[in-house]
């Protein structure tokens, strides 16, 4: 329980349904003096979660998962940026911290289920998108162990965010009007370079000046660290080009940020690694829908290559800003098939004509929650 409205309502709904609820808040990092008070994960949030549980008459515990979260999530976040990729820490937190480490704590008290305030659903032991399409969070949940799905309870996934707030108001929960957190919890001020600097030092190459180049290698400007950029970003790029320019690649070995026009952003295929399947692994040739960013519209694709480590898909229509480090999630309708971490764009099917791309919505936020 983060102390937010979703997990609070989840606990209240389960309690009302007669479940024997035990509240838990994960303490995931040190609340230093320099961390400004923010809506998520602060001390106040722990207190809110405790008060919700008190009002429901159920126990509440604060579980210290700082050490494993630091290793599994924060270290990886930093090393991904150092490698010129755009990490998605919420996925690793769900995979390792919530639905593995926290589950072990649940085992210790004989809890049959683990419930969260995620907008997703479990239907017949399979993971499905949340009913509220605008709030669906399955993009962050593909990495959990398939065997865990049947132990998940996701009560708010069956309603809209507005309905969740209505329930909170109807129950008189103190968090009913609480603002939603938008940032990564351990980057409360939205400045992810701070934690990179903390971990890797002021002279980290990812934060050092480097060239802004065109695809042909021509230097057109300078940047203050490639970790400040993500694929598809426009902010912080030089002007003066005939058409809008976007970050199309990051080359950590030369610290170069490569920019190009919108067409250069389009990928016709996608290659991902570290695949996790929540259903039986599909076969090459299967046609699925894929999502390469949080809140991106699903795109039709065909699996053209698949082994234990890697998947390659050909997209029916080009997709913009396929970003190494972000998630590739495969769907069949609302059903989540599995996912992986994007390695790079793929070649797609060269025999097909290139179709005009729709104007994809792009965002500079690393986890796409903006």
């Amino acid at each position: 329980m983060s102390g937010g409205v979703d997990s609070s309502v989840a606990a209240a709904l389960l309690h009302a349904q007669g479940f024997d609820v035990v509240g838990a808040t994960m303490k995931l990092f040190c609340y230093g003096d320099d961390v400004p008070d923010k809506p998520c994960c602060s001390l106040d949030s722990i207190n809110d979660a405790r008060r919700i549980c008190e009002s429901l008459g159920v126990p509440h515990y604060v579980l210290n998962l700082e050490s494993s979260f630091g290793h599994d999530v924060v270290d990886n976040f930093v090393s991904e940026y150092a490698a010129g990729r755009t990490p998605i820490p919420c996925v690793r937190c769900n995979t390792f911290t919530k639905f593995r480490d926290l589950l072990r704590k649940a085992d210790a008290i004989d809890a049959a289920y683990i419930a969260t305030g995620h907008y997703a659903r479990v239907v017949n032991g399979e993971l499905h998108r949340g009913l509220d399409q605008a709030k669906d969070q399955t993009y962050f949940l593909w990495g959990i162990d398939r065997a865990v799905v049947s132990r998940m309870l996701l009560p708010v996934g069956h309603q809209t965010k507005a309905e969740t707030r209505d329930v909170a108001r109807a129950l008189g929960l103190i968090v009913a009007e609480k603002v939603e957190s938008q940032d990564i919890c351990f980057v409360p001020d939205g400045d992810h370079t701070r934690i990179i600097r903390q971990r890797l030092g002021d002279d980290a190459p990812a934060l050092a000046r480097g060239p802004i180049v065109l695809a042909d290698g021509r230097v057109v400007g300078e940047h203050a660290g490639h970790a400040r950029f993500t694929i598809g970003q426009r902010r912080g790029l030089p002007g003066g080009f005939a058409e809008p320019m976007f970050v199309v690649a990051i080359r950590p070995e030369s610290r170069a940020v490569v920019i190009g026009p919108r067409e250069a952003l389009l990928g016709r295929g996608v290659i991902a690694r570290d695949m996790n399947w929540l259903v039986d692994r599909p076969a090459v040739g299967a046609v699925v829908q894929v999502q390469v960013r949080h809140r991106a519209p699903p795109a039709a694709a065909e699996i053209v290559r698949l082994d234990a480590h890697e998947i390659e898909l050909a997209l029916d229509e080009p997709v913009a800003a396929i970003t190494p480090g972000q998630s590739l999630v495969l769907y069949d309708g609302s059903r989540v098939l599995g996912g992986g971490f994007i390695e790079r764009s793929g070649a797609g099917r060269p025999q097909l004509p290139v179709l005009a791309a729709g104007r994809a919505s792009l965002t500079g936020k690393p986890n796409g929650q903006a």
Binding site: L63, K105, A108
Partner: protein
Amino acid sequence: MRTPVYLDHAATTPVRPEVLEAMLPFFGARFGNPSSSHKWGREARTALDEARERLARCLGANPDEVCFTSGGTEGDNLAVLGMWRARRATRRAVVTTPIEHKAVLAAVHEVAREGGEQRLVEVDAAGLVRAASFDALVDDTVALCSVMWVNNEIGVVQDVAALAEVAKARGAVFHTDAVQAFGKINIDARSTPFDSLTVSGHKIGAPKGIGATYIRRGTPLEPLMYGGSQDQGRRPGTENVAMAVGLARAAELAVAEREHEWTKLETMRDALEAALLARIPDAVVHGRGGPRAPHILNISVPGTDSESLLMALDLQGVACSSGSACQTGSVTPSHVLTALGVRSDLGSAAIRLSLGSLTSEEGIARVAELFPALIDKARRLSGMAG
């Protein structure tokens, strides 16, 4: 759920009925301000003076040597910072132990921040201060030594008389945090040469928010706060008459029952310890090698973690802790066990069971059954043979 078992008396205790009864008039008709000159004021002043005298008798002190505070943290801060600031011009070092309560340790860190020098004495594996180390550290630059009488996590009892003698001989003042010692150890300022000593009400059946610090006559002290002349200016602010009365009553009861209470708690603690060690032979009892207060049992079982065990115990109605409670309620490694050289995996498995007024033989018997069962389960889950 069966009758809950409260084994966290080192964290806090319930207010005793006698104490509540003694306080009630001061929440009602006898509400006066002790500084007022009228009837209501005189009434309150008399009650406060009597409370101070009664508490002084419990400590072997003169009434003017007793300063009422809000509790242990304020008392330790007043003693450490107040006495150091008063002597810093001639002596700037402070000697303390690495196993103090944070109320002392953080005050000593503040001393260091203000230009003082912090010296930590060595403790042995049982938590006892090494006399040779203390002897070596206390020289003529030391303003103040602070050594807690009974440790709140493991219960180790320090030889306060001997350490205070050494400090005195070198011209240092000696403070002891006696929050866990009061009511367990015989405390007498006439026979033990400490210069200041802190007690807290809520550990002995008085409410939270009241405590007292003994300050020997003639010991220089700078106040932490400024305002009126209450308590000789050492602690300005309108006195908490009701709770001072409550603290005096609780202290009298604790002193009167001290020896009986020691025997009773020690018998139950030792029975629990023996039962747990019999069922869990590889369990480690911290501080076992040294003299221990009778109300604390701190135990670690390899292959378990305190966080999960505390949850499981609480869900079965058994309240205990992993050491000292942290603000968030989350479990962090104990600085006390770390200072004892306890392996980190054992440190993160530590459970502190602390006995007191609510402890019964039935409760102890229940925990003696339940605890090993939960350990077996935790070890099965962690894949370790029980």
